[in-house]
Amino acid sequence: MKVLIVEDEKTLAYDIEAFLSKLFYICDLAHTAKAGLEKVEGNLYDFILLDLGLPDKDGLSLLTDARKHNPDAAYIILTARGNVEDRVKGLDLGADDYLAKPFSLLELQSRMQAIARRKFAVNTHLVPLGDFEVDLQKRLVLHNNIEIDLTRKEFDLLSYLLLHNRRVLTRMQLSEHIWGSFADDDYDSNYIDVHIKNIRKKMSAFAAIDWLETVRGVGYKIKKQE
């Protein structure tokens, strides 16, 4: 998939590019609205990541212009403004999602995946997870077609781990994904562990869940699926 990153903060743009390239996205960079507009005029993208605070033009007006050339792209607004009005305006203008800086690249990936599922109808098939299958579209966990009753948060936690499988996710990263701005800053507290414990309890009743690994002192990860 092709991604255009319009971000004037070069370091951040390069980091996003490096991160997404590893996930086999093809990235284009633009550091100004002008350069961004030139890119969208000449190319078709699947994702356009748009910073609102561009030096030469407001990101929102670039969004309007870009949509004329790339109406099918998924637009994700990245901004430090975090202003509710901007957010509403951006979504009104056709943005698909909105990420407030600072955001985690893992969160960006998760959002892009969700949009891809929704917009491009990819990944609709079931994702295998040990002896289980996860339906990301319908938000279900199945074992031999029997649904396992997980709470919303438990499912979020599991699917986030699954999306980033083979990567250790810290409690802080997990709680920020699930609670967003409400995530507390006492990261040593064990409320993530409580959720993991519940997930384990519910799922191990059906089959072994040795794929869900605790990394001592760090967090959790889902081992590579065979």
């Binding site: 951040l12 980091d15 605070g53 800086k101 600072p102 955001f103 800053d185 507290s189 760090v218």
Partner: protein, 443 residues
Amino acid sequence: MKLLSKLTLFITLSKLAIVLLFVLILPSLVERIASQYTNFYLREQQKKVMDVIAKNGIGYYLQDQESYGSYTMLKEEYISLEPVSVKNRLDTIETAMRLVEQDTLTYRLLSNTFKIGKQNYLLEIGKTTSAINQYNRPLQRIALYVLISLILVTMLIDLLYTRILIKPLGQIIKTKLLNPQFPFIHHSKKVKTTTKDFNYLDNSLILLMDQINVAFEKEREFTANASHELMTPISILQNKMEMLMADADENETLQQKLIEMMKTLGRLKKIVNSLLLISRIENDQFVKSDTLHPKELVEEVMEEISHRLEEKSISFRMNISKSVTLINLNRDLVFQLFYNLINNAIKYNKEQGSITIKEKFKQGSLYCILIEDTGIGIPSEELNTIFNRFKKANLSESGGFGLGLSIAKSIANYHGISLKVESKVNEGTTFSIVFPKEMLADK
């Protein structure tokens, strides 16, 4: 005491003192005037007598008699002439007794000797003291009446005028000192007055308020800008750390260090985010047009947060009626307000503690939600500062109260909700959220 009361009291007392003084000195004053006037009158009479004697000759009056005397029927006045020896020279006015036709009366008496030819004569002109003093009493009374009515009139005028005069002061106090809510968004109008001092006071206050506004505006701007400017670098740091974290998969010590760094960065992020939120609230960036049921809201908050109850085995009770509806508020913000307070109630609770959320109607009509915990409590000396952002005590090692309560306070202020706290160390804390009357929808 108010200035007006003081002035009123002063005016009344001073006028009263004047009346009293006047009453005290009036009799002697009137007597004095009467006696002086009598002296003058006697001298005038003497002149007239001398004139008629000069005109008619002394003989016309004496007519070979020893002496001449003339008095009216009531003997209030008399004039007498008699020859005396040369040696007696007299010219006095005194009060003396005289026997007139068997009656002994007290007279004010002018005695004067004069010479015609070789003979010396004594002239006496007298007026009874009772005749002199007969007008004193009514005079005094009238003077007193006139004085009292004049004083009453002036007092009335004084009081009315001072009232008008210091009215601008009252307006200044009302519009500038009592009513305005900080920050002074509504530019206050100048109070109309021709008194220079009040003008000066009013102008100074307006200037001061403007200056405070400017300073406050600057602070808000700074907080907003600083938060924005900090977000991008934090974003970059976070990304780099996450990438490092993924690379350091096998190296446990490196991972531990990275986690510590990420925690610190997470704290920084939380602080900046909180400041940004506070500054956005203070910049009026939220619309207050939502309607919500507090019961649903609290249930939603609990859904987000209830996992944290398990950590300390805290029991939770809620008693809020379904029927209550609150209007004209921002749902997200009020959610955050409840979230922060309940979060604190959990965070600072004890093992096996409890949290109770209940509603109450205060003073009949004010709707109020209480959040009670059985936690560690807040020492009374810290109660006043828990809402202050960056108060030292709030940043103490146990994580302190952080900015959670500052945010709660900002949200409360923004909605006109009053947030109160009562606490006993080691027994628990109760936060009361009192909603303004107009926020409660009619059932």
